[in-house]
Symmetry: D2
Subunit: 343 residues, 4 copies
């Protein structure tokens, strides 16, 4: 079988460049198009010398130069951009890494992201790209919306407990810590080394747009409303998200019971490691894996589920490739690392 001809729209950002890295060694894919808006005309190897060995001469194009008829198209664009582009894209496998088509109800998108959605009629054609939970829908879909990095970490980590009604769907506290690549490649006062190194701070308290995404997907799994507070923090590292999720138990299950439920839910999943030890982001660096565990505090009863992943891997580009593999009928693990680059 000849490799799928794929395009990457938005290859100049971190998620796009990670797609380029993964696809460059993907045996079932051939990148025939890559675009960047402000960097159109430049060599991708000049923006990312890390790609110089595989794409020494490839120049970024304008988004609108995307050819028709590609086997798969990845969109790695700021929110709001996909909704304007999708109608013009003709491909049996469209994988959108942005937020535009992540919500069942377009109104939720509009509330949290602002402005009237430009393609509300197309919204329901998108499957939600959390492969471990929605594999069949993804396999049937022609379009997939890849989850946000924080929702990927926290939803996968809490899903087995909420779906089995082992924890209450209210009073959920999600406290997450992220590396800085989540803030993108554009230079900002908050992302320069001097502001980030030797620093930890919370940001977007009560206001992060991944909150409603978590609530919606977890609510779908719990089959009832989920209410949670989400507090993201920035830590001085390139990649990684650690989600520490606090929930009240519904019954008297022990820590072992909870851990069993988690392990059972993900039995056979290639990219999920349920561990007795506490997960660390570094173990997942550069991979498509998520590591997770759960603890129960004897004194206070709180259930604490903790998940770790690479925000650009499983949290973005890795998961996008995993979706594409499923959509294209390839082996799901093709071109994706299970092991983290350590140290």
């Amino acid at each position: 079988m000849s490799p799928a001809r794929v395009g990457v729209v938005g290859a100049s950002g971190y998620a796009g460049a990670e797609l380029m890295r993964l696809l460059s060694s993907h045996p079932g894919a051939d990148v025939v198009f890559a675009s960047g808006s402000s960097s159109a005309g430049q060599k991708i190897a000049d923006l990312y010398p890390s790609l110089s060995g595989v794409f020494p001469d490839l120049r970024l194009r304008q988004h609108q130069d995307l050819p028709t008829g590609l086997d798969a198209v990845f969109l790695a664009l700021p929110h709001g951009a996909s909704q304007k582009l999708v109608r013009s894209i003709d491909s049996p496998a469209l994988i959108d890494l942005g937020a535009d088509f992540r919500f069942t109800d377009v109104a939720t998108y509009e509330d949290w992201y602002g402005g009237a959605h430009q393609a509300p009629d197309l919204n329901e054609s998108f499957a939600y790209g959390l492969v471990e939970l929605f594999r069949d829908e993804i396999a049937r879909a022609n379009a997939v919306s890849v989850p946000g990095c924080y929702p990927t970490a926290s939803v996968l980590t809490m899903a087995p407990l909420l779906a089995a009604e082992l924890v209450e769907p209210s009073s959920v506290v999600v406290n997450a810590i992220s590396g800085v690549s989540g803030a993108g490649r554009d230079p900002k006062p908050t992302t320069i080394f001097g502001a980030v190194a030797e620093n930890v701070a919370a940001y977007a308290v009560s206001a992060h747009r991944h909150t409603p995404e978590m609530e919606e997907i977890l609510g779908r799994l719990a089959v009832q409303d989920v209410s949670l507070i989400f507090t993201p923090h920035l830590a001085p590292m390139n990649r990684g998200i650690l989600a520490t999720c606090y929930m009240r138990p519904t019954g008297s299950e022990t820590e072992e019971d909870l851990l069993d439920a988690m392990a059972t839910a993900y039995k056979g999943e290639h990219f999920v490691s349920v561990t007795e030890g506490l997960p660390s982001t570094k173990a997942t660096q550069g991979s498509n894996s998520i590591h997770m565990t759960v603890r129960k505090d004897q004194r206070t009863g709180w259930v604490v589920a903790i998940g770790a992943l690479d925000n650009l891997g499983k949290g973005a580009a890795g998961q996008a490739v995993q979706c594409a593999n499923v959509m294209l009928g390839l082996e799901e693990t093709t071109g994706l690392a299970t092991t983290g680059v350590y140290p």
Copy 2:
């Protein structure tokens, strides 16, 4: 007035070395003794070249060589060590940075730290060294137990809200992130650069010994039992603690009300900055300051109080010097930086 003659027992660890740094430029103190157990005989400047300009020739002594009659003695030792030493120390100002005398009830210490306490009769002679909350007790005391780094951050941050009954004393979640110096200077598999850099992980979930300390002191301030879960995390930085504290509100106070309560409580405090912006650990690096704020999540009602400090500064050695200043009748701010070293 001639400078106080002070001794530092345990000068070879990070907290001890920070004491040496602070005391070296303290106009009211003269370090006449410094000891280290395993490094006795070595020059402190060989262990800490950062001190070579001020202590080029000072050699560490054995703990037991501590002279009597010093104006102040600092103990910066592993837990369990102070309780064996204190009886032999003759000084009007004893400042213990360890955990041995932090609890009102010796049994709590024994439960969490293990073993029978060696000096239970001396326990009540120690004041708890959180100057902003217990200044008068400290001024009257001959012995002070300096709070742990996490309790300093979280207790100071939550105290105004709990004391004013603006938040519930149960269902408290303290999620904290620390730099690695909190784990000490002894090389461990978990503290080598390769394990820490580009990594975030939780540790000691449900089991950290600072938990009962927070509960006791906050309970004293709230005048009722406080129950909390505490989850510490390690981030790749040298110094700093960020405590993100979740509490349920008791009434309908607004975010502004809560912030006012916090600001009012610390009005006039030199080392406390109550800010509208979100605090960052880096702003406090190398200083004795704590920065804090509070938010109320409109959607879920959660109150989120966030505090940041330098775990070796306000969280250990800085606070210890602040206590000593109060005990010795010096200006409380003497020898202590209010500004952080930035970037």
Copy 3:
């Protein structure tokens, strides 16, 4: 004696903010003016929360609002800006941290920095602010040009060897490694965390503007032309410069002879530590100190002198305050730390 009334023109950059930090606790100085061009009108505490405890309400002014008659004025501006401003400044102590007045020959400045100098007539009124080497000139001067960070590190380190003719003035290789604060606070693609963390690279090879400054000052000390190649590198840290300087020996002096020459040259200097061990940047973090040593390679004969300092401390703001102290007749060490913040 009442504190000197000082102004800081350009307080919003890293060097300017470090001046604000140092001056805030300087017993002989009172900051009565601070300006920032693009951030005029903003509170300095909003730009630098690290300063919120000492300057909670101080707002940055426009440069041109600088009052006359101040006891001392610091200029911390991009190169080219000072030469336009100096004529309008009326103060007995002008300390310029920029490059405009660092060269004896204005033509050298123009060659390396470009454009015609706007105040060539004032050039010779500036002393070169390397206190340990030009203390008397600085004490007599009304204007001082503070050396660049790299020249401070490398000139101080090599000066004793070149001045004593122990090494050849040609074939000098200066290989230096700097933290990122040297690149300033403006967000740039090259200074974001994602570009800097986990990365080391050379930059400005053969083209760095500090090259002629090193050659000129070293030439003045060696009383003959000095020719050197300088290669700066960027390392993932906030502060610090390590200069590794390779020179050919003129005679058969041993390593001990060279180390003695270095130690003798700086005997009694408060901020210079000549050490047998290899210097590390971290030992000088936040201080005005420079640590240095020298080695002789038995096999090849190369002399290797290595110096470490904090580029914002001794390499910029610290040294500027040291100069001001000398100019104002204060104790030279006033308000300056000798110890590094460690770890």
Copy 4:
């Protein structure tokens, strides 16, 4: 063709674990044995959670349990260990990552590493594993000695210039900067986060054991004696080596001439990128690539060649796998990444 059955002796160190990571996704290799001395009996996934997805249950064995008849055996042991083991190993492809068999003359090894070599008779059976330079010898050999990390970086970078006699073989200065993984996984005072983060320092000045290795291999290529001084530095990052190499030119070749010579020498090499831009270590992170360039300083004549690689990748485990591929007759690039993990 069924995958080669391979063993990894010394899988618990960083280089060994990197071998495990690379081999886990190598389509032509199947790891059937892994050993660790002090960690025998433990699961590799407990030491390296990054490997939990691929080796969930594999336990480390004792070195002596290595079965005979494996298709390939990797030794990743401290220097001195291989020479005692090799005689007992029966495999057509032995790849030693240690220093024991890197020198043509056993006496050089003994001078720099100490002690009498235990297997001098086997020394000449080892090829030197720098594939780009000694591919044919490696293909013919049953045993290969993988170069040190620093020699890999500096020899590959300087080889084209020395071999073509474009630079002098004397007066070579190699100034290199390394990440901390080069110091191994054993906790040491010098490798804890507190000692490394925010720090740069030189180490082993004039005394690093990679010096004679560089001299020997470069001398072989230059067909005359090469004399160089080598100064390694430690920077706060996990992986990466940047070698900045200063040489005197033999003639009047321009920078373009030199760059052409370098590019021509490596034309067609999959893992070598000769670039006009300055190489950065991060572009090679996690890969088997080396990036390099060369500059000529117009003012002083110095030729500066700069090379960057991942010390655990091309500098150790990556190169070892590349050697094994050549020895086993596999495609040389099998299982090896060309792209760096960025950011």
